[in-house]
């Protein structure tokens, strides 16, 4: 399991909320430049897993390693330093509502990375340009479309120079016609070698980008492998059933 090249490694993560076991001992690793996509039914623990990885939800058990270094999340300083290196994209964007697009991207650089304001501003502008929002830098979240908000949130994460990005259903809250612009930005990241772990229901998109697809249900990893195998020749009956449903022409993708 241990790999020298693995950027992110997760071992035996368990999490319960009350009596309800959400994650029942999950392990996975993502290597440099690799894209892994998690699929599976809603409520299967995808979001919780991603939030456990950067300790937004503290797992009951399990270990997380970044570039071979085990993260001790009880040490605040270590936790904050680790989170800076892990970019997180949320389903509902979570832009800071009181800041415009530029300030949203800039604030982490100023307050967390302690960059000088002019330097942070330049970097933020560059990132916003990269996601195609150079013309919207002074707009507030309330004035942006869903697709634009998600692109700002990607720029915000990128500005921190993350070693790996966690994407939690980045297009699930978007109108179908806005999904394309966010997908284009994610594709561009992958083309530039970003390491990623992404949960999504967009199976067509996943199959193009993913090096490996992980099928997760009921707190377990049921099966994982290259997209062609998981989507067409899955070993496990449950994976087959799920993939047949979401890849059938009637499915909304």
């Amino acid at each position: 399991m241990t790999s020298v090249r693995s950027v992110l490694q997760v071992e035996n993560i368990r999490k319960s909320f009350g009596d309800k076991k959400i994650l029942k001992g999950l392990s996975l690793s993502v290597e440099k430049g690799e894209v892994k996509v998690i699929i599976g039914p809603s409520g299967g623990g995808k979001s919780t897993l991603l939030q456990c990885i950067n300790f937004l939800v503290v797992p009951d058990e399990g270990e997380v390693w970044l570039e071979g270094k085990k993260i001790n999340h009880a040490k605040k300083r270590e936790l904050y330093a680790y989170r800076q290196q892990v970019g997180m994209i949320f389903q509902d964007f979570n832009l800071f509502d009181h800041l415009n697009a530029l300030e949203n991207v800039q604030i982490g650089l100023v307050r967390v990375k302690k960059l000088h304001k002019t330097e942070a501003r330049e970097r933020a502008l560059a990132e916003l340009q990269r996601v195609g929002l150079a013309d919207h830098v002074l707009q507030y979240p309330a004035q942006l479309s869903g697709g634009q908000k998600q692109r700002v949130s990607i720029a915000r994460a990128l500005a921190m120079d993350p070693k790996v990005m966690l994407l939690d259903e980045p297009t699930s809250a978007l109108d179908p016609e806005l999904i394309g612009e966010v997908h284009a930005v994610i594709k561009d990241l992958v083309a530039n070698g970003m390491t990623m772990l992404m949960a999504t229901h967009q199976i067509g998109f996943a199959s193009v980008l993913a090096d490996e697809i992980i099928f997760m249900e009921d707190g377990y990893i049921v099966e994982q492998g290259p997209p062609a195998k998981i989507l067409q020749q899955a070993e496990c009956a449950r994976t087959k059933e799920f993939c047949a449903k979401i890849t059938s022409p009637s499915a909304d993708s």
């Binding site: 937004l56 904050y80 997180m88 949320f90 979570n94 800071f96 009181h98 707009q139």
Partner: protein, 224 residues
């Protein structure tokens, strides 16, 4: 004619003096009250254990006991324990602590109205808790709390008139002395009332101006 002369030469100068004392009571009390309110409000939302219990106890006490009684305790009660406050200091302390208790309720409500996603996003970027509170949560919460806190400041302007009960002779105190001397209760207190109305009007205008200045897309007042 003689009456007008009396009002011009005796009443107005004295009341203006009182008004000045009132302003000297209100401005520091409002500022400190707001600071206490922010601190206590944040502690009530984000702390746990003994600190949270103490913060809640503070609010229960200072909202639960009549302000006049609090002022009497500060001014007449504490000397019993060897602590002496001037009338002015006792009033400012009393007003600040009472006002802070009310402010903390508005702040608490505003803090709780901030969506969880805002904290998640800040944490995911590596913000420390304090930094997150300072640059993400409070700027949003204070905008939401502003109408309530403004209300409390307007209240404070009026309950500052209780200071004369502990011999800090401000606007109302001056009015009472003048009226008792001249028996012109109606005239004197009409003027006193007009002065308070003017103070409150100016404060309302300033607060409205502040609200407009801090208004952002997504945080504006929605006019139905």
């Amino acid at each position: 004619m003689e009456e007008l002369f009396y009002i011009q030469n005796e009443v107005l100068p004295n009341l203006l003096q009182g008004l000045w004392i009132s302003i000297l009571l209100i401005v520091p009390s409002a500022s400190m009250g707001l600071l206490i309110g922010i601190l206590v409000g944040a502690l009530r939302v984000y702390s746990s254990g003994l600190v949270a219990v103490l913060a809640n106890l503070y609010v229960a006490l200072f909202r639960g006991i009549p302000l006049v009684v609090q002022l009497f305790i500060w001014y007449f009660g504490l000397p019993y324990f060897g602590i002496y406050f001037s009338p002015y200091a006792a009033s400012v302390v009393g007003f600040s602590l009472c006002s802070g208790a009310y402010h903390s309720e508005y702040i608490r409500g505003a803090l709780q109205s901030i969506k969880k996603g805002q904290t998640l996003a800040a944490q995911a970027l590596g913000f420390t808790k304090l930094e997150m509170l300072r640059s993400i949560i409070l700027p949003q919460a204070l905008r939401r709390a502003l109408p309530g806190c403004g209300n409390e400041i307007i209240y404070l302007i009026k309950y500052s008139s209780l200071a004369y009960m502990v011999t800090c002779i401000e606007l109302t105190g001056k009015g009472k002395i003048l009226a008792a001397h001249s028996f012109k209760y109606t005239e004197v207190f009409l003027i006193v009332g007009a002065f308070y109305l003017a103070l409150v009007s100016v404060a309302s205008l300033l607060l409205r101006h502040l609200e407009n200045r801090l208004s952002l897309p997504g945080f504006e007042l929605h006019k139905a």
